[in-house]
């Protein structure tokens, strides 16, 4: 039942990503070429709304529906943050997709997205296998 809620929230998220064309390679290229405000507007306003919401939740020590006090873990820095971040950026400009949009693309009927997801899984698996040998 609980998981159904996440399915619905994911559905809304995927719908918004698709209707705003964030899942489009064309939009990502336009962004990296600084030729439109669209993507910057989407990401910027998303962060702004997220920021205000998170601060309100934290200040009021709100509880979630399952009764837990809402906590957000701090993210820890290691060199992977920027090395991995740059590696992802290279892939983002090639595929025009972050992980979320790949799934939305597949749902929207883009056959190539299945290859993208399999390749991304291979990338995650390879990182996991090499993790102890990589600089962090």
């Amino acid at each position: 039942m609980k998981n159904l809620t996440y399915l619905v929230l994911g559905g809304l998220f995927g719908l918004i990503l698709t209707k705003s064309e964030v899942v489009s390679w064309w939009r990502i290229q336009e962004m990296f070429r600084f030729q439109s405000f669209h993507m910057y507007g989407v990401i910027g306003s998303a962060i702004l709304v997220g920021l205000v919401s998170v601060q309100l939740i934290k200040r009021n020590r709100l509880k979630s529906l399952n009764g837990e006090t809402i906590t957000l873990a701090d993210k820890k820095y290691n060199h992977g943050t920027w090395i991995g971040g740059t590696v992802f950026g290279l892939g983002w400009a090639l595929t025009g997709a972050c992980p979320g949009p790949m799934f939305a693309q597949l749902g929207s009927g883009v056959a190539g997205a299945a290859v993208l997801i399999l390749a991304a899984l291979a990338g995650t698996w390879t990182y996991s296998a090499l993790r102890e040998k990589l600089p962090h």
Binding site: G10, L15, L17, W25, L48, G80, W82, G89, A93, G107
Partner: protein
């Protein structure tokens, strides 16, 4: 109404709605928005191969997989059910640049078919754009500990400086690919 839903949504509608996903997940179940973790969970579920990083109770993170499944359904609803214009209305400058620099001619669809159609796996383009591109996304997001959702939206919403470093990396990589490597490829 349906006609409005069919048209592409402007950034000032979509951005705030994406931002609201962060408090929605927190309020529903104390979950932090982050999508690239789902790739790790799938690896842990299907091919753990005794790798320590893939040996954990992925079932306790099942919500994340349902969320991702939902994203796929949302893509279907948004594109196939509601419908969407066939061509993404990018700026004329971008169209001109992509024609001149990459030789693209077909501007229909969410992604250029000339690069992403599966039959491109028969030539170098498919291997670079589909296979290498996807691999770098999966490898890089896990190495960085998150993607656009986990770092840029969720992380920056919680004022995490680590996420800011990651986002600078995302853009550095993207700019490097677009401005340095693309001209070498074409």
């Amino acid at each position: 109404m349906l006609e409005i839903l069919r048209q592409p949504w402007p950034w000032y509608v979509a951005g705030p709605l994406i931002g609201l996903t962060v408090p929605a997940l927190l309020l529903v179940g104390n979950k932090a928005l982050g999508i690239s973790s789902s790739l790790r969970h799938v690896c842990a579920a299907c091919v753990p191969a005794n790798i320590p990083f893939l040996t954990y109770n992925w079932r306790s993170e099942a919500w994340n997989l349902f969320f991702v499944l939902g994203i796929g359904l949302g893509g279907f609803l948004g594109y196939q059910v509601l419908g969407h214009p066939d061509t993404v209305a990018i700026s004329a400058e971008t169209v001109r640049d992509l024609q001149a620099q990459m030789g693209l001619t077909d501007f229909s669809g969410l992604l250029p078919r000339e690069l992403f159609a599966p039959e491109n796996l028969m030539n170098w383009k498919g291997w670079v754009f589909l296979v290498l591109g996807g691999f770098l996304v999966g490898f890089g997001t896990r190495y960085a500990g998150g993607c656009t959702s986990g770092h840029a939206i969720s992380g920056l919403s919680n004022l995490q400086w680590v996420s800011l470093v990651a986002v600078v990396g995302f853009f550095a990589g993207g700019l490097l690919m677009t401005w340095v490597f693309y001209p070498l490829l074409f």
